[in-house]
């Protein structure tokens, strides 16, 4: 992206000297590498800096109305976590249930339609799915609102109602992947010898899948669930934009537009650490669910 906050905010008619003055005020004239380490050192002390926007836009304006990045991000992050959390609570149990039952009734019509449908949902981008939902459930049959506009005063029930469509969208785009992975992880294990052994000792089909296959499938399932959790959080950038939801994704897009670098950096940091933490969690689940790794020989 060309330009920086100073050129963007002062516009094309700005004089060179005013741009330079704003730049030096924001520290944009310093070399990027020391700037990066300065930022990093501050982050380790919990200081994400302050947002560029809200500063005295015009020379001579009274006072500095800029806000701390943390202050800006926290309420937005709460909104996004709410959206992601609700979507996860819907999508994960549903995906597990569908995946396990598809494995249980492998090659049945149920299995085929479930896997076929999930392929369609996985392949559709979330903005498309989102607009389809708006068309169906907000325009043709106006059950839910098009815009998920929440603020601090919105009650919890109201929040559920307002975020219904974004939740549906996030659920649909992530559920297919999780469901297919659950199904294939279980089916993979169903061809093992100990599954045949379990059948020959009289285990029912349900027992075979739930008691014998599932405990050995947790590692790949946890992996795909956490990746999708991270995807939900980050995928919310698009979904929040479609539904105009005041989450961190929208904040980030807006900040990029303004070249409000401190906010963008903080958002990127949140997204990146989400991936790292969730992947770590998946590995831990993989270890805990596998006696071979948990107990030494």
């Amino acid at each position: 992206m060309p330009g920086d906050f100073a050129t963007e905010i002062l516009g094309q008619s700005a004089t060179k000297s005013s741009v330079a003055a704003l730049r030096s005020e924001l520290g944009l004239d310093k070399h990027p590498i020391p700037r990066y380490f300065e930022w990093l050192a501050n982050v380790f002390q919990g200081d994400f800096g302050s947002s560029f926007s809200g500063r005295s836009k015009v020379q001579g304006d009274q006072g500095d109305r800029s806000r701390q990045v943390v202050e800006l991000i926290i309420p937005r992050l709460k909104n996004t976590l709410f959206l992601t959390g609700v979507s996860a609570l819907v999508a994960i149990p549903l995906a597990l249930l569908l995946g396990i039952s598809a494995a249980l009734f492998r090659n049945s019509y149920y299995d085929r339609s479930a896997t076929g449908f999930s392929l369609v949902t996985v392949s559709s981008p979330e903005f498309f799915t989102g607009y389809i939902f708006i068309l169906l459930l907000a325009t043709l049959f106006p059950v839910f609102p098009t815009i998920a506009n929440v603020n601090e005063d919105t009650s919890i029930l109201q929040r559920f109602y307002l975020t219904a469509l974004p939740v549906f969208t996030l659920t649909l785009v992530t559920m297919g992947h999780m469901m297919r992975m659950t199904r294939s992880a279980i089916i993979n294990i169903l061809s093992s010898e100990y599954i045949e052994m379990a059948k020959l000792s009289g285990a029912t089909r349900y027992e075979v899948v739930v008691n014998h296959a599932l405990p050995n499938a947790w590692a790949p399932i946890a992996q795909v669930i956490t990746i999708n959790l991270a995807y939900m959080l980050i995928g919310s950038v698009v979904v929040e934009f479609v539904f105009n939801y005041q989450g961190i994704g929208r904040l980030m897009v807006g900040s990029v537009y303004n070249r409000d670098i401190p906010v963008v950096q903080a958002c990127a940091l949140i997204f990146a650490s989400t991936y790292v933490i969730l992947n770590l969690l998946a590995d831990l689940i993989g270890i805990i669910s596998n006696p071979r790794l948990l107990y030494p020989k």
């Binding site: 093992s192 010898e193 100990y194 045949e196 052994m197 379990a198 059948k199 020959l200 000792s201 009289g202 285990a203 029912t204 027992e207 014998h212 405990p215 050995n216 669910s289 596998n290 006696p291 071979r292 107990y295 020989k297």
Partner: protein, 536 residues
């Protein structure tokens, strides 16, 4: 014997089973009959593909996915299992009929503790309270001579050895006190020394509860120890059936006689002091765990030296050190009077050419996407620089040497039988025109009869080409057939090396004695006598 022994427990009539593979249906069993009385043990033997495992599973009314019973009855206590619903069969499986599988390591669920799995079938059928079942399982562990019977059930499958797992699976099969147990090659994956323990444990427990059993194996000597009667299967049909003693002393059919034909290859032993290869006081380690401790072996030129020992004894590691795949940490390798560099990368192309290796599993040793021509042609081109027509001529020559012909040139490994694949691997080794070939368990994955063919071929090639072999195996019968000298290894050390006649005849060091005495013999009383002798 006892009167109840004559009471019919299982009768399989005219069993036909088809299996679906390679896009079409194959006949696996073509009308086999079987009768089993209470408390009786029937041995089912035959080479792989004979249909013996399918027959064993069919005795439970079960077929593997992709197979189906198309004709025949399986009368168990008078009920035809074939006509029962899945649910009704499930009532019988694991309670009236139990199954003991070949690979215990793969047949236990890695996620559950052993005790839980041992009593699961009996628990499901609510035969007794969980506490009583656990107590009973501990008693079973004890009578199967498992170490620490009280606590072993608290372990996970990966925490106990293969031989112990196989015994725990027997306990698991016995826990609901079934009327019939199907043993499907239960000792095939075990070392001979472990096999003896498992066999005796299984036999005594089956006798103790007077359980009827079907014992499936390809090893006639093993089945001789277990079975009252033996049935021989081939290509899905019965060859013959007789009482064990009768079958061993007086087999009627040629095929039955050929089943132990490997034991009929005899090779006069010879040796010399002109060593092709000497390894002197070698140490080797995988990471921090040391696996070879001061190993010294001499390989005379143009002869066959067999390295024997159980799994984990360091046989294959020795081969890896010789080929340079695993550099030794101490000691030296002298090849044709010159010291070989420890690392593969430091050796010259010529040195690499002169030592070739043939692996145990031909399936994984060949690129499945290459044709026979490419597989054999590559070393010819690589080592000798021969290309084009001349290369093809050389490949055909090699194919003739391994008793195949040019029609094989365009085939892929998947279009070959197990024995043919191993022959191609031999041809690939020969293509380099080596002085020394290391054969790492080359016949272990093959059937008795195919084994014989491969061993004869190797002998012929040695006579014609003067090539030296290192023959790594755990099978004493093979060793007897092919070797000049024998090296016995145990826990990464050489126990002894010497001429075949010296090693195989007493006096032996303790370990050699244990190893040799554990090799099952074609004598139904062998196990009993051995156990008596050892308990003294």
């Amino acid at each position: 014997m006892t009167s109840n022994k004559k009471e019919l427990l299982l009768e399989m009539k005219n069993i036909h089973i088809n299996g679906f593979s390679d896009e079409r249906w194959h006949k696996i069993l073509k009308g086999v009959d079987l009768k089993l009385h209470r408390g009786e043990i029937l041995g089912l033997i035959g080479e792989s593909g004979a249909g013996k495992s399918t027959m064993g599973k069919a005795a439970m009314g079960y077929t593997q996915p992709g197979c189906k019973i198309i004709k025949g009855e399986v009368l168990f206590n008078g009920t035809d299992l074939v006509t029962l619903s899945e649910n009704e069969k499930r009532q019988i499986w694991g309670t009236k009929i139990s199954y003991v599988a070949q690979s215990a390591a793969a047949s236990f669920n890695p996620a559950h503790k052993l005790m839980e799995q041992t009593i699961s079938a009996a628990n499901r059928a609510k035969i007794n309270s969980t506490d009583l079942l656990k107590k009973d399982a501990i008693e079973l562990y004890e009578s199967l001579q498992l170490p620490d019977p009280v606590n072993i059930g608290r372990r996970y499958p990966h925490q106990v050895s293969g031989g112990q797992l196989q015994r725990i699976m027997t306990a698991m099969a016995m826990s609901p006190r079934p009327e019939l147990i199907i043993f499907d090659e239960p000792t095939t994956a075990l070392d001979v020394t472990t096999q003896v323990e498992v066999l005796s444990a299984m036999r005594s427990i089956v006798e103790k509860f007077n359980t009827a059993a079907i014992y499936i194996t390809h090893d006639l000597a093993v089945v001789a120890q277990m079975a009252d009667r033996i049935k021989v299967l081939r290509y899905g049909e019965e060859v013959e059936e007789a009482e064990t003693k009768e079958m061993l002393s007086n087999p009627k059919k040629e095929y039955t006689k050929s089943l132990w034909s490997v034991r009929s290859i005899i090779k006069p032993e010879e040796t010399n002091d002109n060593y092709m290869l000497s390894i002197n006081n070698i140490d080797a380690a995988y990471g921090s765990s040391k696996v070879l401790h001061g190993v010294s072996i001499n390989i005379p030129k143009g002869k066959t030296v067999a390295i024997v020992g159980e799994s984990g004894s360091g046989k294959s590691t020795t081969a890896r050190v010789i080929t340079g795949l695993l550099p030794q940490t101490k000691g030296e390798i002298v090849f044709d009077k010159k010291i070989l560099a420890p690392k593969l990368e430091q050796r010259s192309k010529e040195e690499l050419r002169r030592i070739q290796i043939i692996f145990q599993m031909p399936d994984t040793a060949m690129n499945p996407r290459q044709t026979v021509d490419e597989i054999i042609g590559r070393p010819i081109e690589f080592y000798h620089g021969i290309k084009g027509k001349a290369r093809e001529k050389k490949v055909i020559e090699l194919l003739k040497m391994i008793e195949l012909d040019e029609t094989f040139l365009d085939r892929l490994p998947s279009e070959l039988s197990g024995g043919q694949k191993q022959r191609i691997c031999i041809a690939r080794a020969l293509a380099a025109n080596p002085d020394l070939i290391i054969c790492d368990e080359v016949t272990s994955a093959l059937d008795q009869i195919v084994q014989e063919g491969i061993l004869k071929l190797l002998q012929k090639l040695q006579k014609d080409l003067g090539v030296t072999y290192i023959f790594i195996t755990h099978d004493i019968a093979t060793v007897k057939a092919i070797s000049d000298e024998i090296v016995v290894m145990y826990q990464g050390k050489v126990v002894e090396q010497g001429l075949k006649s010296k090693i195989l005849n007493p006096p032996h060091p303790d370990y050699t004695e244990l190893l040799l005495s554990s090799v099952p013999e074609m004598d139904p009383d062998w196990l009993t006598n051995l156990l008596n002798k050892r308990s003294i």
